[in-house]
Amino acid sequence: MKKAFLIPLLLLVSTSAFAYDINVPVTYDTLKNGMRIIVVPDTNVAIVSCRLYYFVGSMYEQFSRSGLSHMYEHMMFKGTHRLNTSDFAKESVWLAKIDSVDKIIFSLKSHGIFDTSAQTVKLRKEISGFMEKERAYIKKDEIWELYMGNGGTHLNAWTADDMTAYIVTLPKNKVELFYWIESDRMSNPVFREFYSEREVVLEERRMRYENQPANRFFEYLNSLFYLAHPYRLPTIGWKSDIENYTIQDLSSHVKQFYTPDNAVIILVGNIDPKKAVADIKHYFGAIPRAATPKQEVVTREPQPIGETRFTVRDDAAPQIDMMFHTPGYDNDDLYKLDVLESILSGRSGRLYDRLVNREDLCTGAEAENAVRLNNGYFEINASLKKDTDPAKVEKIIKEEIAALAKTPPSVREMERIKNTIRMSFVSNLRSLEGLSDRLAWFERLGSWKAMLQYPDRIAAIKPEDVPAIVKKYIDFDKATVGVLLQKQ
């Protein structure tokens, strides 16, 4: 059962793996409606990073509706009953008309009649006519204007597979504006200018994927890597899905996921935690939970039964990318895979040293351990020189992995990794916004506290742990391999 009252919890946590103490004074709270609050005060600055994270993203989407979380990332700026409108009562008349036509389009779509059909085109024309009438009552981009006119910086929003964030950094005396706007957006969203914004998202997709060869390659590769899990859906959505979104689709998505019990507010900067918690309760406390609790994704990737290989010729720098399945969070092996990533990466890492420095075959090479909630991946990437044979690079990568499967890394390599983790930890604390995102990410995975425990968990790994982890996860017979070659 959820706790039904406020439980203020002040935690001054210092990391123990370091030779020095770093206090991260975190205040953590949960409102009655399930909304979580994390506050980290820093009186050295005159600003506060204000971020509202919803634990929703493309992993909660389905075929035909991929990218809806991202679409809503855009639509959240279109206002509420009180924002972006000069007279909501009058505007509602036209919104209702748009809504009724949208319902017909939604119904046609469910019968396989798409947005390009003559019938739907006619209905969309009707919507455009209503839209023109509604426009008389729209106060353009008032939310953006309010934030920017009050010293807002870093104003934006972003969507990932498991999280969507609405972000702004404000002068320390203007934080109440964030509570006002975000509580209103959570309670009373209005889907204004839906159809024109759908076009904007299509332009974004063209810009980010269709016309960026390397991004297009990775989008396809990711979808080949995940066989069953919705991680295979691109966060921005497939083009045909975007083209057929309706207001009805978005509305049901929003009702399900954009509720206080699926959100965390994180404030980092010059702010009194006690007052912040009281103010957040005041603004958000009455917003109800979702009518139906969020359904978590139960699908897990099946064990691959063989190699998947994908070769593309495009106008792009040639590269080879190898992906291996890893467990979801939390699992001790993930920390060991982070160590493996560090051994292979960096200018003095094994991949760069061999492929770039010694063999002169590549322009870069690195590894990444991508930790995800349900199923992650370990990736090895090498950028090839113009005349390099990818098979030769693949062979060398296999040799380097085989060496690590046999012999533990050196003491010096382990020392390097620990220093890298320490440096990274301290660097992350230097940015209010960066710290906020790190806390959110760990909270999403389970608990923000894991962020502080991370250096100790890495420090506990011994060189002899590495060969075992390599053997367990880096199986080339079950890898997904993408090869991007220069178009002739």
Partner: protein, 485 residues
């Protein structure tokens, strides 16, 4: 039963009391009563030192975290590269970091930097060369020593010169894979013709660069009197100043680097570069000025209203929000102290709507030039330019970095302190005058990267026709346009 009733009544009474004692949420954001900020722009003077060796340094102690960072600016840039050897400053800076030093072989240097998780870098842009280092504060002495080795004692190992040159050539081969860099290059060429800022490195210009050229250039520009540094972190200010005075050579009477004269000289009214993509990348450019210039702040306000401020700007409303024609649409008023900048409008839209989006943008240019801006727009634009200052000066590192940059640009020491007054003094008439002076649609140069056939097929939109601009069509990124001098 009776007890329950009493309890219920009590609860009702307490709840009523709670509601009456709890302040209501303001009816609108304008009703929120904000407390005063109580913050002023910090001044840079107390951080500035001229060290015993003549080095100008802005130094701030910051013991919040066990961290150290230093950055520096050198007066030189890619526009100073000798003719026919374009790319030399980029190559030089990468080899300084990677080609070993007097004290360390290149492999050893990489190993030490990685072992202690340091960051050490040197890089070149068009009007400045920058360097930086950062580390956990316990490794500060080692990090500073390594930086001094990289900056003043690079070894230019033959093998590494060859290696980095070959990697540079690979990068050149793929620099136009994505459309954005093509637009950048084509725009510079369109606006500056043969200005040094529009010249690109090519394999033949890289091929002419010898090791001796690199050694000579390094000697010429990496001089203490030609640079400014900013440092912050957990250290003693006095101690760091002493170290920098020893590790950086003594300043000599050598002159500052001189930048070449560059002017805006459009090459054609319209340039279209063919690239088989689904969108057109478009930039509409106009000549501006070199700073300092009295019109600068009025132009900044003008730009904020027209397209400089994301969604709320006029271009954002019209092209993106109303019509859904672009994801990115904005305008930019360049700020450049070395050569005249330009004012431009940029967006990406599907090839079929290129002319339509240009026509809409032109309408907005004409409208702001004829009618100026409203009181509300002026007030909002001023807030946008001024109220973000607390975020710009958030940490001691920000303060010293901003003031080092300020001195590099030769602006007065009180630049940031007087900035709000300068902006607040401007009127709608000033902004209108700036619009009339700088935003003449007849002077616009159009640069477009996209699928030429699709763009021209749809070039029938009322209000604008690309064909009527008599475009120079470049067949692709291999076109002589990019090589022209």
């Amino acid at each position: 039963m009776r007890k329950t009733t009493v309890t219920s009544a009590l609860i009702v009474a307490m709840t009523a009391l709670w509601f009456s004692a709890t302040p209501q949420v303001p009816a609108s954001p304008s009703k929120i009563a904000y407390p005063p900020l109580g913050w002023k722009v910090p001044l840079g003077e107390s951080y500035r030192q001229v060290l015993d060796n003549g080095l100008v340094a802005y130094i701030a102690e910051d013991h919040a975290l066990p961290y150290f960072q230093l950055s520096g600016i050198v007066r030189y840039g890619e526009i100073c590269d000798p003719a026919g050897k374009e790319g030399i400053s980029s190559l030089l800076t990468s080899i300084m970091r990677l080609g070993g030093t007097a004290a360390y072989h290149s492999d050893t240097l990489d190993a030490i930097i990685d072992l202690y998780a340091m960051h050490v870098s040197v890089s070149a842009s068009d009007t400045r060369v920058t360097f930086s280092c950062a580390c956990l504060s316990e490794y500060m002495d080692t990090c500073l020593y390594i930086l001094s080795q990289v900056l003043f004692h690079p070894a230019f190992e033959e093998k590494k010169v060859k290696k980095e040159t070959s990697l540079f050539l690979e990068a050149i081969a793929h620099r136009f894979d994505n459309p954005d860099p093509v637009l950048d290059a084509a725009y510079e060429k369109a606006m500056y013709r043969d200005g040094q800022n529009s010249l690109l490195p090519f394999p033949e210009t890289i091929g002419r660069i010898t090791r001796k050229d690199l050694v000579d250039l390094h000697k010429k520009i990496f001089r203490t009197e030609n640079m400014i540094v900013a440092a912050s972190g957990s250290f003693s200010k006095r101690n760091l100043a002493q170290k920098l005075a020893v590790l950086f050579p003594k300043a000599s009477a050598g002159a500052e680097s001189v930048y070449p004269e560059i002017a805006v000289k459009p090459i054609a009214k319209c340039i279209v570069v063919n690239k088989p993509i689904t969108q057109s990348y478009i930039r509409m450019g106009l000549p501006l000025f070199k700073r300092p210039n009295d019109d600068f702040y009025a132009v900044q306000l003008l730009n904020t209203v027209l397209g400089g401020e994301g969604f709320t700007s006029r271009l954002g409303s019209k092209v993106r929000s109303n019509e859904g024609l672009a994801y990115v649409v904005y305008s930019s008023a360049g700020s450049n102290y070395v050569y005249p900048a330009t004012f431009f409008i940029e967006f990406q839209t599907k090839n079929e709507t290129a002319s339509r989006a240009i026509a809409l943008s032109l309408e907005e240019v004409k409208r702001i030039r004829e009618s100026g801006i409203t009181d509300e727009e002026l007030s909002h634009a001023k807030k946008v330019l001024i109220d973000g200052f607390p975020s710009m000066f958030r940490s001691p590192a920000d303060i010293v970095d901003n003031y080092a940059d300020n001195e590099f640009l030769k602006r007065p020491a009180n630049h940031y302190a007087v900035y709000p007054d300068k902006v607040n003094a401007l009127t709608k008439a000033d902004v209108l005058a700036a619009a009339k002076k700088y935003l003449d649609p007849a002077n616009i140069t159009y640069t477009i990267v996209g699928d030429t056939a699709a763009v021209f097929r749809a070039d029938t939109i009322a209000g604008f026709s690309l064909r009527s601009q008599k475009p120079r069509v470049a067949v692709g990124v291999a076109d002589s346009l990019f090589r022209a001098k």
